[in-house]
Subunit: 192 residues, 2 copies
């Protein structure tokens, strides 16, 4: 038997909804899952490592990669560019490695077109009020930034029906069990 | 919000593979799952209750139901007739009740055509040798019957790629976790 192709698990949803936490939990339990490292033009935060969290590049480098058709998807979000490299992902999947994506809704929709398969999961906030509370608590953003993120979140929630699965993150343990089951079920799928 | 439509979970696989045990475990944990009770012309076994395990009917009654198009699927297996009633299932699903089916491969293929949706799960024996051992251990069948069941099993395994999911039942706890996750994931699916 040939090695099975890896599963692509695309996790999307509004900023502050808890995507990152859920993804970390899943990668901690399942060592065969690798994180899809995106390219970005935004400045690294203090704790971010080049090549682990993102590949940090200049606008010029990013532009060149677009022209060379290197991205499975790319988008401009809150004024910065983000892109998923095509070749690296395809190679991992072919080697049987599972790849998880932390990606905005725009990007997810593009990925649907360029990836041959994948499980698309939308993480939904319990409510907009709750999301606002979480963004304020995280408090890395200014008041204006929080307002922009909330406006975006409203738009993103409207697009949730485009996804394969919706998980409401009202309770972290329960949301994690849901994501875990979606992942495990996807490994049992018959693929043609 | 209107009540969500129930999930139809179709569990199939060779005789002796452990479908019944897995289904019982799932129904014990999740009380919203109801068992699809089939009609059959075969004689009830000692512990079987009419209306719980099967509806036991005569060949004439069964024939009449076929003519009246009452079945979502029906099949002749090992000389007896088995059929799934169409209306009752559709009604339960519409009421938001989840319905689980313990059904042979022939029947599952027919259901695919008549049910508008459903998760089709094939339970695979770890090997044919292991399946033979289990059938002998169960020992309710004669030597000849076991041989027929094994021949059927070979044919059924060949059709497993028709299903949505395959679970290899080499370890009951693990197989149960797989079925449980398929069920839970199906509840999170976005349905149009």
């Amino acid at each position: 038997m040939t090695k099975n192709r890896g599963v692509a698990l695309i996790v999307s949803g509004p900023s502050g909804v808890g995507k990152g936490t859920l993804i970390s939990m899943l990668m901690k339990e399942f060592k065969n899952i690798k994180f899809s490292v995106s390219y970005t033009t935004r400045k690294p935060r203090e704790d971010e490592i080049n090549g682990v969290h993102y590949f940090f590049v200049s606008k010029e480098e990013f532009q060149k990669m677009i022209e060379q058709d290197k991205f499975a998807e790319w988008a401009q979000v809150h004024g910065n560019f983000y892109g998923t490299p095509k070749q690296e992902i395809e190679q991992k999947l072919r080697q049987g490695v599972d790849v998880i994506f932390d990606i905005d809704v725009q990007g997810a929709r593009q990925l649907r077109g360029t990836l041959s398969d994948g499980e698309f999961v939308f993480i939904m906030p319990p409510s907009m009020d709750e999301l606002e509370k979480r963004l304020i608590k995280r408090s890395s953003d200014s008041h204006l930034e929080i307002e922009i993120r909330l406006k975006n979140a409203e738009q993103e929630v409207k697009q949730s029906s485009f996804f394969d699965y919706i998980i409401v993150n009202d309770d972290l343990e329960r949301a994690y069990e849901s994501l875990r089951c979606i992942y495990l079920a996807s490994k049992l799928k018959v693929r043609s």
